[in-house]
């Protein structure tokens, strides 16, 4: 089996068996139980909530991130093994949401770790969550969910941003350059 086929198989398998770890920083976690239980039942797609990042493939960051929690998020993200995907959950991860002017909240999660899918809403409904999963499957299938490759590629920039955030120089956080997107 050549490399191309192998990675294709890997993509198919990881699409059908996404193990998830969710990082419950805010109120968004409240919407997870309906997704897991009988109404929406994400196990239909082989998705499963996992206890540790070593076993997980997809990372749900549910809600706002203070600088302190960001450290944990980065730690967990780095402990996950490739290929790994991140879903930013709720408005807070996109632009700070209702904490847009807080001195202690990071505004854009994608400046610190690569986010594959965002779910808008404050909070997003379970339907939206399911939708985002389906979207992620689609992206994996097409080979578009390449956040983990980006993280390797722009590792220095991500690290720099994280360092700035940890030292509360949030205004010095820069966008990740996306000049040579494949």
């Amino acid at each position: 089996m050549n490399h191309e086929n192998w990675s294709k198989l890997a993509r198919i398998m990881s699409k059908r068996s996404l193990w998830m770890i969710h990082f419950c920083t805010g109120c968004g976690a409240m919407e997870m139980p309906p997704v897991m239980t009988s109404r929406y039942d994400m196990e239909r797609f082989g998705m499963h909530a996992m206890a540790t990042p070593r076993q997980a493939d997809v990372f749900l960051v549910t809600g706002y991130l203070a600088v302190k929690t960001l450290k944990r998020v980065v730690q967990v993200y780095e402990q996950m093994r490739d290929p790994k995907y991140v879903i930013g959950f709720g408005s807070c991860t996109i632009n700070g949401g209702m904490y847009w002017d807080s001195y202690n909240t990071i505004k854009d999660l994608s400046k610190y770790i690569p986010v594959d899918v965002y779910i808008a809403g404050c909070m997003p409904r379970p339907e939206a969550i399911m939708d985002s999963f389906l979207k992620l499957f689609d992206m994996i299938d097409k080979g578009e969910a390449i956040g983990w490759q980006k993280y390797h590629k722009y590792y220095d920039q991500y690290k720099r941003n994280q360092r700035m955030a940890f030292s509360y120089r949030l205004d010095e956080v820069k966008d990740i350059k996306e000049d040579d997107k494949e």
Partner: protein, 320 residues
């Protein structure tokens, strides 16, 4: 003089049976999840989900290791559980089970457990250490009633070889139809619940307490190996139960029916282990989790007491 053709055939059969065992194990994983989902009024994953999970884990891009002792876990657990399976009579077919006996099987089952424990310990994660502690204590807990029943059977059938026990059951009737071993089967089924680490005895892995315990640091191919071990473990343990109490699924004798007997026995065996596993799943689906000392007390107080009664029964009933 060794007959090389026979030997080659035996090795091929062994490889086939092992592969089959792993396949059934993975299938059981899917079935288990499906059944649990149905009990909880969900749709559940497809029945082949086990294969997908294992394949996914082996196709992970990067794998981490905490050193060579950590890797022993993956090696020993897969090798050990396959070894134990080879020494079990499956559907009346005894591959190597004539070369060892029940004691050997019980101790072979310890190889993957100890290897797994070695790797988990080597990761240095405190959760893993706690999980291993719980696993070993659960093992201590369920072994007492289990060995009580097993020894009662050994004395009753006057052999320690599992193959001979299966043979004798095929000649007479299944052990479960003897009143004392019907009770014995209940006791052993409780022990099986602990062996399979299903609720209420899933204390070692308790994902919400200690983050899946021993497996906390395993990911990628290491976790894949462990998944194989766990899934194969289901087959091995249920087969052990079926061999002991349900005649190993042997209903047709090979000498009379030829190859048909193999097929029928195999199907019966598969249905029986599925049935045994199904009971375990039913219990699993409705029970919460014990604390570890509660589990120990449960097994040693109630289960072992019944086991003791069986021993006394056999002690009085069997004349030397």
């Amino acid at each position: 003089m060794v007959n090389y053709i026979d030997l080659t055939i035996q090795i091929l059969v062994a490889i086939g049976v092992t592969a089959l065992g792993f396949a059934i194990g993975m299938l059981f994983n899917g079935i288990a999840r499906k059944i649990t989902a149905r009990i909880q009024n969900r749709v559940g994953p497809p029945i082949y989900q086990g294969y997908i999970d294992v394949l996914k884990l082996f196709t992970k891009k990067t794998n981490i290791s905490h050193g060579w002792i950590f890797d022993l876990a993956a090696l020993f657990s897969v090798a050990g559980i396959a070894l134990a399976f080879l020494f079990l009579p499956v559907a009346g077919v005894s591959l190597l089970s004539g070369e060892g006996d029940l004691f050997l099987i019980l101790y072979l089952l310890a190889i993957p457990a100890l290897g797994f424990a070695l790797g988990a310990g080597a990761s240095g994660n405190p959760n893993a250490a706690v999980g291993i502690m719980r696993a070993l204590m659960t093992m201590l807990a369920y072994e007492l009633p289990l060995v009580m029943v097993i020894i009662a059977m050994m004395v009753y059938y006057d052999t320690t070889s599992l193959a001979v026990i299966v043979q004798k059951q095929a000649n007479m009737h299944w052990a479960i139809f003897i009143p004392v071993f019907f009770i014995g089967a209940l006791v052993a089924d409780m022990a099986l619940q602990g062996m399979l680490m299903e609720k209420p005895f899933d204390i070692p892995i308790a994902p919400h307490e200690i983050a899946t315990g021993p497996m906390v640091e395993f990911g990628g191919k290491h976790l894949g190996a462990l998944m194989l071990y766990k899934m194969m473990g289901i087959v091995v343990e249920t087969t052990l139960f079926v061999d002991l109490f349900l005649g190993g699924g042997v209903i047709l004798s090979v000498s009379q029916f030829g190859w048909l007997a193999y097929v029928v026995n195999f199907i019966v065996w598969f249905l029986l282990i599925l049935f045994v596993f199904f009971i375990a799943l039913l219990i699993n689906a409705v029970f919460p989790r014990f604390r570890i000392e509660q589990a120990l007390k449960f097994y040693w107080k109630y289960d072992a007491l019944v086991g003791l009664l069986i021993l006394i029964w056999i002690f009085v009933g069997v004349t030397p």
